[in-house]
Amino acid sequence: MKALLLGGSGVVGQRVSEGLAARAEVTELVIAGRNRSGIERTVERLANKAVVATAASVDVTDPNEVAAHATGADVAISCAGPFLARDASAAQGAIKAGVPYVSLGDDLTGTRNVLQLNESARAADVTIVTGCGFSPGITGLLVALAARETQVVEDVEISIGASLLDSKGRATAVHFLTALAQPAGMVFDHRFVQEPPASAPRLVFFPAPIGWVETFRCGHPEVTSLLETYPQVRSLQSRIGLEERAAMDLARVAAGAGVGRSERLTRAMLRLGRPVRPVLDRVPPKGARCTGVRVDVHGHEEGRATSVSFGIADRFALLAAVPVVQAAIELGTRHVTKAGVHTPDRLFEPGGFLRSLVDAGLRIMRLEPTRV
C-alpha cells in the first residue's frame, strides 16, 4: 500500500515514518511537509528499508495541495502539528482525494473543526480518524476498556504527565501551552462548563518511572469526543502537568499571561525562552524522560461502586507513533472502513486495537490501589 505522511520531519513524524517503513503492508511512502531539508533527512534515514520513500513539499494548511498529493495513496497520515489550523485542512484534502485519513490531532478546537467535516466525509465515502495518538487516542480506548467493567459510567478523568526531557519538539511545546491557556471545557454535575485554564492543582500518580505529578485542568479534545460516547456522564475532565515542576510553574505563568492563545506569540515566547531551557532541565525535581497517561473511570455495577484506573508510561514519540501507525495500516488495507469522521474509540474495537499496541511494545498498566 502507498501512504502519504504529512509532517514527516518532526520528532513524532520521524518515528511514524520508521513505524510505517517497518510494516510489510507499506510498500511506498511519501514524506511530506513544509520543511524540505527535514523531510529529506527522514527519507535518507529510510534508505536501507524495504519501503520506497520519497519527499514532497506540501503546505498542510492548503486542502488542494494535500488533495493533489493524496490522490493515488491508500491512506494519508498527519503528524503536522500544531493541529489547531492544520488538522481540518489536511482532512479536507483527504476527503477531496477520496483517501482515508488519520491524524494525531490533539487540539480541542482543531478536533471540533474536523468533526464538523462528518457530512462531507460521509458524502465522499471516506473514513476520517482524528486524534489517534496517546491523548487523545490511547486515552479514549482505555476509557472504553474500563467502561466494560461498569454498567454505568459516572466520572471520567484523563491525566497527562509530560516531561520536558522527553518531548523536545516545538509543536509539542506550542500544543502544551495552548492546552494550558484555553478555558478548560469539562463536565461537572452533568453540565458542560468552562473552568479557568491551568486551575485546580492536584497530584496524580502515574506508572513507573514517573510517579506523582502535579496536574492542572486543561482544554483537551477528549471532553468533546467522550461526551458523545458517554452522554450521561456526571463529570469528565482532562488534566495536564509537567514532571519538571519549575518548568510547569513558568508554563502556568506564561499561559496566564495569554501565551498559548496565538501560535505566533507562543512560538516567539519559546524562541525567547530557548536559552533558559537547559537550566530548567537541570532544576530539581528532574523529569523521568518519559511521558505518562492515566484514565480513571468511576461508576456502578448492580448497585456496587466501581473504580478502574489504567495508565501507560513510555517515550513520548513512541506513545504517539504506535497508535497512528496501527490505525494507518487498518485504514490503508481497508480492514476498517466506515464513512464519516470518527475518534479511535468510536471506530476501532478497543480490546483488539489495544492488543496491537501491546504487540508493538507498549505496556498497559492497571492500578491496584493500596488497601488501608
Binding site: R148, L203, F205, L354, R355, V358, R363, R366
Partner: protein, 47 residues
C-alpha cells in the same frame, strides 16, 4: 527616585524567587504511592 524603584523591583523579584524555591522544595515531599501498577496481560484485553 529611579534607584528606589529599581531597588523595590529587585526586592520583589528576589522575594518571588524565594517563594518559588520554597514551593519547589516543599513539593519535593510527595505522598506514598497510591497503589501498585500491574501490567495488563494481552489476554485480559480480549472483548
Amino acid at each position: 527616585m529611579l534607584t528606589r524603584a529599581l531597588r523595590a523591583v529587585s526586592t520583589l523579584l528576589l522575594g518571588a524567587l524565594l517563594v518559588w524555591a520554597a514551593r519547589l522544595l516543599f513539593h519535593s515531599k510527595l505522598p506514598e504511592p497510591e497503589g501498585e501498577w500491574r501490567e495488563v496481560a494481552r489476554a485480559e484485553l480480549a472483548g
